[in-house]
């Protein structure tokens, strides 16, 4: 049958654009032409707009809300307050962390920017006028912004609704402003080791409050169709299925009558995981008015009210022998959760995976305790481009390593190397209970040090130090080292759920008769290029070119259930589901091919895009032929069609890791720093698309640069947000951003179907430590042990001043 010469396996493999190829992105055609479809692009017939009256103060009783003037304004249709939501039971809503949160201020406000009333009108102009006319009388109360003052005896009680509740969602509460205590590890054992240790370093490490600040803010369009009883909500949701279930549970609309659609998302970085009052109010307003309602927050709203990240005060003690062998680690964290506990963590992990804080090191014994407290700040605590609290954990251990190295008088590169978990120790169970899947930390570390010529860097640094000391220069050089181990891909249903929903993910594949395909996934892209990369996974699994596979996500009516995109879980979980579904397709295809070729299943072997009879290379059936046969032939014992679905419950997390090095020059007089070099080596296991991986690393490093060098959500003592615009909330431009060198090692995950580990968040996790350690390193010769981030100009200047480096 074959007159044409069959292309070689290699040629056919390359035609698939499968795993490992830098396939160009299929998303880009629409994005480059301005044809993306983001929430604010959606325009429905009769659609009204809604927006909030927000609290100007951080803590107050509400004496009165007068909506008369607003309602009298032409163009304003309704004003919702807590009183209107109460009969529906929607004036409060459950949070992801087992707490509850006011949808609209119920008698009091607890943070600046809190939602007080929801004005609905013709368009955003009319609504804005309406918002200005709602009169609210506040009776101000004392404000708590310092988490260490929250638990003082005379501290004002913030959450009066639960003041008497001694038991919270995560165990006992010891103070009205206390949320939980979470412990992990061996307390007594750790204390004993610390007591008896030759060397102990003790330090407070603060990872300041910041915000994911995606370029697109949060928003939604809710449309209640009263004719068919169906609610459709388009929104900036990183987890559309979870939103559907939560919406059903709190609204009592049956889940099959709710359709959640995440259209294109303009970046999320964790900001779009939670459920916000805007979503609830838009839904209620649509039910009340019978027309679609759009709510889109502006940037100030976004920075003031939707989920912040970090705000962890981490007190650490690390012990070692005089030779630098680490013997134990102790950590107590005070976690500032703001006014409501709305952290987005798996249910059993109120401090996320903070217990990955032993990092890349073989530490025999460890203990971690985290206390969450309420303050008059916005709720949140999301994983800003990191798996749940992993960047906090990683920053903590990477600072403690540096502090310990100082105490030991040892080079911190050597100290790391001395304590890395060895290749042969994997799978490795950490002192705090995680089973690290794979890694070769020494290999990565040595490669990194060699790539940057570490020895030479130290020599250059020493020369610059001499110039500084002799008065010839006012600049210092810092070398920031970081080795991180992430824990991503949450996660195994046995210990990971959100609101009772197991954190699996799913993929459903249909092969069309002509041999092209559609795959639908439970996760959703927030810009990572799923439509490109998941098609690559499939191409390699089922031998259909990636360009012939449509990827669809984000519509809960059509996509299989999944828990969404965050914590670098798309590739480890949804990517695995994709591979597994592909394997089911292939298994069925094998039966069809065997029938067509009149051989036994076992006589066939897979060759890129076809099944070939063993030992008879010219006898084969391509996937294209098999696909057609599945639709047009009656095959005994085999159902027609070629479809598969896989719900993948990962057996373990994956543990991406990497070695990052930054060289920074710091002007001690101005506090201005200049990045001279950034080298980032990532091991994310099997690499699906190197081009996209590199792009992810560039982006994550830039977010890390922002966080460590200036980005923060700052409050004054009255609880006013001081960083509400992009002038004060630091997002670097191309001008302040350096070029990055990327590199990799490849240690596949042994339990993931294709060995991939996830990479999107690694650069943020590893980057923050590298940048911050560079600042610390520059001032190390003058005795600096710890200086809190962000290292903006004045704080760096302050370090120099406090060390007596100014004249």
């Amino acid at each position: 049958m074959d007159d044409v010469k069959t292309p070689s396996s290699e040629e056919r493999k390359s035609a698939l654009s499968g795993l490992g190829t830098s396939r160009k992105r299929v998303e880009d055609a629409r994005f480059t032409q301005g044809k993306g479809n983001y929430v604010d692009d959606i325009k429905l017939k009769g659609m009204l707009f809604g927006d909030f009256v927000r609290s100007p103060v951080a803590h107050a009783k509400i004496k009165k809300i007068d909506t008369t003037a607003a309602l009298a304004l032409p163009g304003v249709h309704a004003v919702l307050t807590a009183a209107d939501l109460e009969p529906l039971g929607l004036h409060w809503m459950p949070t992801l962390a087992g707490d509850k949160q006011m949808v609209l201020a119920d008698g009091k406000v607890l943070f600046q920017g809190q939602e007080v009333a929801f004005v609905v009108g013709d368009d955003r102009y009319a609504v804005s006028d309406g918002v200005a006319l709602v009169e609210v009388e506040y009776d101000e109360l004392p404000v708590v912004t310092d988490p260490f003052k929250a638990e003082m005896e005379n501290a004002p009680v913030l959450r009066e609704d639960i003041a008497d509740q001694k038991e919270g969602a995560h165990g006992p509460r010891r103070h009205p402003n206390h949320i939980f205590t979470w412990e992990s590890g061996d307390k007594e054992g750790t204390n004993k080791v610390l007591d008896e240790a030759e060397v102990v370093a003790d330090e407070m490490v603060y990872y300041h409050r910041t915000h994911p600040c995606p370029l697109e803010t949060c928003g939604c369009v809710a449309s209640m169709d009263k004719v068919n009883g169906k609610l459709t909500v388009w929104g900036t949701f990183q987890a559309p299925h979870a939103v559907r279930t939560v919406a059903s549970l709190i609204s009592s609309i049956p889940e099959h009558n709710i359709r959640i659609i995440s259209p294109d998302i303009g970046g999320g970085f964790g900001n779009k995981v939670g459920v916000y009052p805007g979503y609830v109010c838009a839904i209620v307003a649509s039910i009340v008015t019978g027309v679609p309602i759009k709510w889109v927050e502006d940037r100030m709203d976004n920075l003031m009210a939707t989920a912040f990240a970090r705000d962890y005060w981490m007190h650490g003690k690390i012990s070692a022998t005089k030779e630098g062998k680490i013997t134990g680690l102790w950590c107590h964290t005070t976690a500032d959760h703001g006014a409501f506990d709305a952290c987005a963590d798996p249910t059993k992990f109120p401090a996320g995976f903070m217990n990955i804080c032993t990092g890349s090191y073989d530490i025999p014994v460890a203990y971690l305790a985290v206390d969450g407290v309420y303050t008059n700040k916005a709720p949140g605590g999301v994983a800003y481009r990191c798996s749940f609290r992993v960047t906090e954990a990683s920053y903590f251990i990477e600072r403690m390593i540096e502090v310990l190295a100082l105490k030991l008088g040892m080079d911190s590169a050597e100290l790391r190397s001395k304590n890395f978990i060895k290749k042969e120790q994997f799978p490795y169970t950490s002192a705090l209970g995680w089973e690290y899947d794979s890694g070769d930390y020494h290999k990565a570390w040595d490669k990194a040090l060699e790539a940057v010529n570490y020895k030479k860097l130290r020599e250059d640094q020493a020369k610059q130090l001499e110039l500084f000391k002799s008065g010839k220069s006012r600049k210092l050089i810092g070398i920031g080292l970081s080795h991180f181990t992430e824990i991503v891909g949450a996660g195994p249903v046995k210990n990971c759920d959100i609101l009772g929903l197991g954190m699996f993910d799913a993929c459903e594949i249909r092969i069309h008769p002509t041999g092209s395909a559609i795959a639908r996934l439970g996760t959703i892209s927030q810009g990572q290029g799923h439509a490109t990369t998941f098609a690559q996974i499939l191409a390699s699994e089922i031998g259909i070119p990636a360009s012939d596979i449509t990827l669809e996500e984000g519509d809960t009516d059509t996509a299989p259930y999944g828990l969404g995109t965050y914590g670098s879980r798309s590739t480890p979980v949804a990517g695995a589901a994709t591979a597994m579904a592909g394997r089911k397709i292939r298994a069925k295809a094998q039966m069809i091919a065997a029938y067509l070729l009149e051989v036994h299943d076992d006589d066939l072997e897979w060759d890129v895009d076809r099944f070939v009879v063993k030992g008879a290379p010219d006898k084969f059936k391509t996937m294209k032929e098999i696909a057609f046969a599945s639709y047009n032939q009656a095959i005994p014992g085999v159902e027609p069609g070629l479809e598969a679905v896989s719900y993948y419950d990962p057996p373990n997390m994956t543990y991406p890791n990497g070695a990052y090095i930054c060289v920074m020059e710091i002007d001690v007089d101005t506090g201005v720093s200049e990045i001279k070099k950034v080298y980032a080596l990532d091991d994310c296991g099997t690499r699906i698309n190197p081009m996209i991986i590199e792009g992810q690393v560039h982006g994550g490093l830039t977010e890390a640069l922002a966080i460590s060098m200036g980005q923060e959500i700052a409050y004054d003592e009255q609880g006013n947000v001081m960083t509400g615009t992009l002038m004060d909330f630091f997002v670097p431009t191309a001008w302040e951003t350096p070029n990055y060198e990327t590199d990799f090692t490849e240690t596949p995950s042994p339990h993931h179907p294709i060995g991939a580990k996830g990479v999107g968040e690694s650069p943020n996790v590893g980057g923050v430590s590298a940048f911050s350690n560079a600042v610390h390193d520059a001032f190390k010769p003058f005795g600096l042990t710890q200086a809190h981030m962000p290292h903006d100009h004045w704080r760096v200047w302050k370090i120099a001043k406090d060390l007596g480096l100014h004249n």
């Binding site: 102009y125 006028d129 007089d669 101005t670 431009t733 001008w735 903006d792 100009h793 200047w797």
Partner: protein
């Protein structure tokens, strides 16, 4: 972030603009590039009922250089200041300073008039105009008058401009000597943590004339009279420049904000001023 409603006017002459301002008093405001005004309107920090767009008034545009006299229409944009080669030849410090303002898009619309007349201490042009000893021409109901830039600023957002007056042009003599405009900021698009402009005319190592002005280091731009006095007629060396720097810093009175506390700003002011002095000296 939506402003309250207003009536919009686009007069084609200064007279018409002035007459609208007279009719509505402080309810009326002129808009030039709008990049200071519109953000404030969006936050509803100001209630403007009548907005007068000056962009149709031809007399407000253009850069005129005749001999050493330079006159710049209030509606001249920052990008026009940057790209005008004749202006660069006559007063290169303007390009140097303008390139440090905001970002490319904002410079395309932002005007010199808007920047100087708004009275925002964070704006760079008011300081630059102190440096150049510029004169502002204002037109109002009572005719045209001139005010020296060094006498124009009273406090943050308070200036010598009357409610019914429009700034129509800015004039100054081409500066002689070395120049520098130094600015420390957190990022592109930020206002200055501290900024300083210097013009130094040096003859055989001796300063024959000088000018020094500061931006965002007080509630108005600062012209450093005393420091200029210290410099003039003296032989320039590092020691003198340090003294001059010290004198300038003493005249500064910054406020704390997210850029840092007062102590830091004063220190950085010293660094920035000293750098500007040295660079101007090198260029003299």
């Amino acid at each position: 972030m939506i402003p309250s409603a207003f009536k919009f006017y686009k007069p084609n002459s200064i007279e018409k603009a002035v007459s609208i301002m007279k009719d509505f008093g402080d309810e009326a405001r002129v808009i030039a590039g709008g990049h200071s005004l519109i953000p404030v309107m969006k936050q509803r920090l100001t209630d403007i009922k009548h907005l007068i767009d000056l962009s149709a008034i031809k007399e407000l545009k253009g850069i005129n250089i005749s001999g050493k006299s330079i006159s710049i229409g209030a509606m001249t944009t920052q990008v026009e200041l940057i790209t005008n080669e004749n202006l660069f030849k006559s007063a290169p410090v303007i390009r140097e300073a303008s390139l440090q303002i905001a970002d490319p898009q904002v410079r395309n619309l932002g005007t010199i008039g808007g920047n100087v007349a708004n009275g925002d201490p964070a704006n760079d042009m008011p300081g630059l105009m102190q440096l150049l000893d510029a004169t502002y021409k204002l037109s109002g109901t009572n005719g045209v008058r001139e005010v020296k830039a060094r006498e124009f600023y009273e406090a943050a957002y308070f200036t010598a401009r009357e409610d019914d007056e429009i700034l129509i042009s800015i004039s100054f003599d081409a500066p002689i000597g070395g120049y520098a405009y130094e600015k420390q900021k957190r990022k592109i698009g930020d206002y200055a943590t501290a900024a300083a402009g210097v013009i130094l005319n040096v003859d055989k190592g001796v300063c024959s004339s000088a000018s020094i002005a500061l931006t965002n280091l007080s509630d108005t731009p600062v012209y450093c009279y005393e420091a200029v006095g210290l410099l003039t007629g003296k032989k320039i060396d590092d020691n003198l420049l340090s003294q001059v720097t010290k004198s300038c810093v003493e005249q500064s009175d910054p406020v704390a904000d997210q850029r840092g506390p007062v102590e830091f700003k004063k220190y950085v002011a010293g660094v920035v001023i000293n750098k500007a002095l040295k660079r101007a000296f090198e260029r003299s």
